[in-house]
Symmetry: C2
Subunit: 578 residues, 2 copies
């Protein structure tokens, strides 16, 4: 009996996964077909959603589902976050048994009951544990974003990116939260009632994911600064939105009304989580760099690649254990791995890690979008509300306007290469919502408010992916954004070139004087306040951190003052000294 | 409340995974150290087990575990195959609450209770769902075995490998089952009582996994035939043992006493499952080959690699849905992917797929062995029995003697390159047990008999890995096995060379006559019965299947008779025709 049950569970389980694998395969083949035909209207993520929607609709409507409510009630009474397949099976098989006993020998009826229950079971079970998204699907996507970042342009626009990511996301959260709360009060909604829920929705939906837009930018070789700002914003604001969500949740759980102290407390939590995760991620990246520098793992690429992958995953797990956010830690770990560890790896491992993470990124991303499509129909805890949804879409657009235009204006005061009006329109347009917003929304659906948030989030994601994603090419042509420039070759560029470029002098920076205040050159495009500090940080990195963590030239023995020679020698690898 | 619960579950979950990740990291660093020092006594899998045992012992004994029994009883009453973290947490937190209420303000006591419960919870939860091993951990290992197979030597020794894998594994199962049943009757054991259970144990423990031995063979460049036979046996006998296990389970569930019909039925099930899976695996490999041949996915390596990975995983899932065994299907799918699809892939994808699967193989394998170590102490359903265990070890050795020596004698009658006595000793010695035996044993622990089987299997695995694995180098030197030969370069060798070699003629085989019975050359090392059929099969592959599925030269238009020209042209890619 036990064997049979396990067997049946296992088979439905496999079938469930198989459906997603087949959907992904179809997506891949269609993507290839579209690429062949140079058809850019729908991106792969859009395709994944479409196929997901189709299958979701089939599961939800084409298959007869008797006693569906019963199944749902069963799950509502138990804890929903871990739908237990065996208990589902128990319910189903019990129902089958009771029915079959009363109508023996009626083979046809039996079979029909079996199948309807099977599909009912499948319908209930076709939802993955939300934790899977957070622990398995999202980490490779986020790590890959950090690891494959085009450093040069990112750092050139670090000022604009930071401002838009931090202040912009906060503005967006507040505006959406405020607008939604006003609307909720106006229509006296029963689904969303509390201000903190509206704010939570604001934070969740503020995470942009312009995977479609960037793919098109890449195809068209669009203006480098625009690319860097859109990419940088989307990467960093995931981290900001996630931390905001966590802060609001802990603010909410404090259950005190709005007051100054609670708000400050919330801010302190935000700072602690964000910078704690940032530092922890960088620390783990540094440890990996040191491990790869001082061991000769280089000679065994499999060991080296394994170490790299495991250290990165350990970063995620450890920061989750420490009550930080693994996603933020992983992002900065990825940036550090690319900046330091990458240089210590063997050529094989360099290639393997890059290919491995972009493959995982591709698979995971498309899986999420397929699942978004399927779960729009099959997820059991939807709480639809047309009014709220329409207003949410409106407030999402308004909130993006509220931070892109004013912040761009402020940034332009300090920038040499201005963010043009047309670029601002494209930035406004690139506010797609994706994997992170979905993961945050589906992670907790224990209350009606949370279920409403999930349903609205799903619609916003689907709308933005189709409408914004679909028209990006046209918009870029209409707004006459400069295209055809080459932005690809510098994924892992030599930093000396960057510093020289940054410094405005072609001669070596280090040999002339470490802390010399270089003349402000035309190509520096960050606001003045940041400029000097950032420059100091960068030269500190080049003089101290890079030689410490990598086999980078010149070694510490040359960059540090003479008095530190013994320590410097200890911290340099043989490779550096010879 | 819900949030807190989910949060706590999530954190313990992360901590659990983190411990395994750290163990793997330590293993990797130790492996590197041992490789540097050329220390061959302990292989990485042995190290993984040792670290696992240490941590398992710490969790089990060093940490105080009050009310452990209570936790266990709770799980015994529910269904054990899916230990539900939330219900565990409920139990723990409920206990904490009841205790804390009665002893308020006693902070220290509170904390100690919390920690003991936390570790208790951890102790219970440190076991993964056994299905994880079967669905996530094992597939990459098995697929990799098929994909990285050194085809040339494998096919040269196909006769010996098939005989030892099929007949040998069956003999081994019967001998172990018989001996164990005799012993059970003798000591009147209460833990193992039925003959089918003994037979099941025989089948489970007959799957060899000479990962350590092969690693050493590789290092020493040992005799190619010996390598091929040991590798081929271990790969194929996994499939045979798994199918035998499944057949015995379904035989057992039929619940009739031993009779001829039931035995025949069992045999029929074996044939159906084995050859069904084999054909399905090959079919899916063929579909992948066709997909990669006729689409130009080559230009998009990420899409191509994704397709490859997903098709292979779909093979596993689909065959599980079809009531075949995914592992067997995956093995043959891997072989077909290497033989056909590999040739259609772009250079990037060829490299990426090979590196990806060997990386996954490395990680999964070491994870399994770490888990074997940990679960020896922490698994809750152990049923130890010293007498049975000692006798099991004895019968495992006897059973391997019972098939290696007689079968080698029989094989030598037909072989030109005899299997020498010393080689037979090494083959006897290479009967390590590993991942598959463990997965089969842990998959079902619903009865005392099954729990006993698991406990014995764990001990046999650990003993064989340490004793047999540790002394392999010495044994090879003692028995004067020829070493220093190069066996590596032919991972993906050109088959023409093989056929020429096989054929004994240096001129092209195809051009001279397709079905000509070539003279029996000295290098053919398979028994005569197989020889001609295998040769026919091979030339059929070269004339029809390879040109059909790959961009291999010559195309079908040249190899098929003139009358089939239109069809042949349709089935040839542009690349082949030009």
């Amino acid at each position: 009996e036990y064997d049979d049950k396990a067997e049946a569970t296992h088979r439905v389980d496999s079938l469930n996964l198989l459906i997603y694998v087949i959907l992904l395969l179809i997506t891949i083949l269609t993507v290839w077909l579209f690429k062949q035909r140079r058809f850019r209207f729908i991106h792969e993520t859009g395709l994944a959603i479409i196929y997901g929607l189709i299958i979701g609709a089939i599961i939800a409507y084409a298959i007869k589902k008797p006693e569906e409510k019963k199944g749902n009630d069963y799950f509502n009474s138990t804890n929903q976050s871990t739908v237990n397949p065996v208990s589902v099976f128990n319910v189903c098989s019990h129902q089958v048994e009771t029915v079959t006993e009363s109508s023996k020998n009626e083979l046809q009826e039996k079979a029909s009951i079996f199948f309807s229950h099977f599909f009912n079971f499948f319908f209930i079970y076709a939802t993955f544990d939300p934790e899977v998204f957070f622990n398995v699907i999202l980490p490779p996507i986020i790590f890959n974003a950090g690891y494959q970042m085009k450093k040069k342009h990112f750092f050139r626009n670090i000022g604009a990116i930071t401002v838009i990511a931090f202040i912009g996301t906060t503005i967006s959260t507040l505006v959406i939260g405020g607008l939604m709360y006003g609307f909720v009060l106006l229509i006296k909604s029963t689904k969303l009632t509390m201000f903190t829920d509206c704010l939570l929705f604001g934070a969740i939906i503020s995470a942009t994911d312009p995977v479609t837009v960037l793919a098109i930018f890449n195809d068209l070789n669009v203006d480098v600064d625009l690319y860097a700002i859109v990419f940088g914003e989307s990467v960093l604001n995931d981290a900001v939105a996630l931390t905001l969500t966590k802060s609001i949740e802990s603010y909410k759980s404090a259950k005190s009304g709005f007051d100054g102290m609670a708000f400050l407390n919330c801010l302190a939590i935000f700072m602690k989580i964000f910078f704690g995760s940032l530092l922890f991620g960088c620390f783990m990246g540094g440890v990996t760099a040191l491990l790869t520098k001082f061991t000769k793992l280089k000679n065994y690429p499999t060991l080296e690649t394994s170490l790299f992958v495991l250290m990165s995953y350990a970063t995620f797990l450890a920061s989750e254990c420490l009550d930080l956010t693994g996603i933020v830690a992983l992002l900065f770990c990825g940036i550090c791995q690319a900046h330091y560890t990458y240089n210590n790896l063997s050529a094989t491992s360099q290639n393997n890690t890059r290919e491995l993470f972009s493959l995982m990124n591709f698979l995971m991303e498309n899986f999420v979008f397929t699942y978004i499509g399927v779960s729009t129909f099959t997820f059991q805890y939807h709480s639809w509300d047309a009014g709220l949804t329409i207003f949410a879409v409106f407030s999402v657009i308004v909130s993006r306007m509220c931070h892109i235009y004013p912040l761009s204006f402020l940034l332009n005061l300090g920038r040499v290469h201005k963010i043009t009006c047309n670029m601002q329109h494209v930035m406004l347009f690139s506010g797609l919502r994706g994997a992170l917003a979905f993961t945050l929304a589906i992670r907790n659906t224990s209350t009606v408010a949370r279920q409403t948030i999930l349903s609205i989030t799903l619609i916003v994601i689907i709308l933005t992916v189709f409408l914004l994603g679909g028209f990006t090419t046209q918009i870029i042509y209409w707004l006459k954004i400069s295209i055809g420039l080459n932005i690809n070759p510098d994924v892992m560029t030599n930093d000396y070139n960057f510093l020289r470029f940054y410094d405005g002098s072609s001669s070596g920076f280090l040999l002339e004087g470490r802390s010399s205040a270089a003349s402000i050159c035309d190509s520096i495009q960050i606001i003045p306040l940041f400029k000097r500090n950032f420059k100091k940080l960068f030269s500190f990195d080049l003089v101290f951190i890079k030689p410490l963590l990598t086999n980078h030239e010149p070694p510490l023995t040359e960059t540090l003052p003479k008095c530190c020679f013994p320590i410097a020698k200890l911290l340099s690898s043989k490779e550096q000294l010879t």
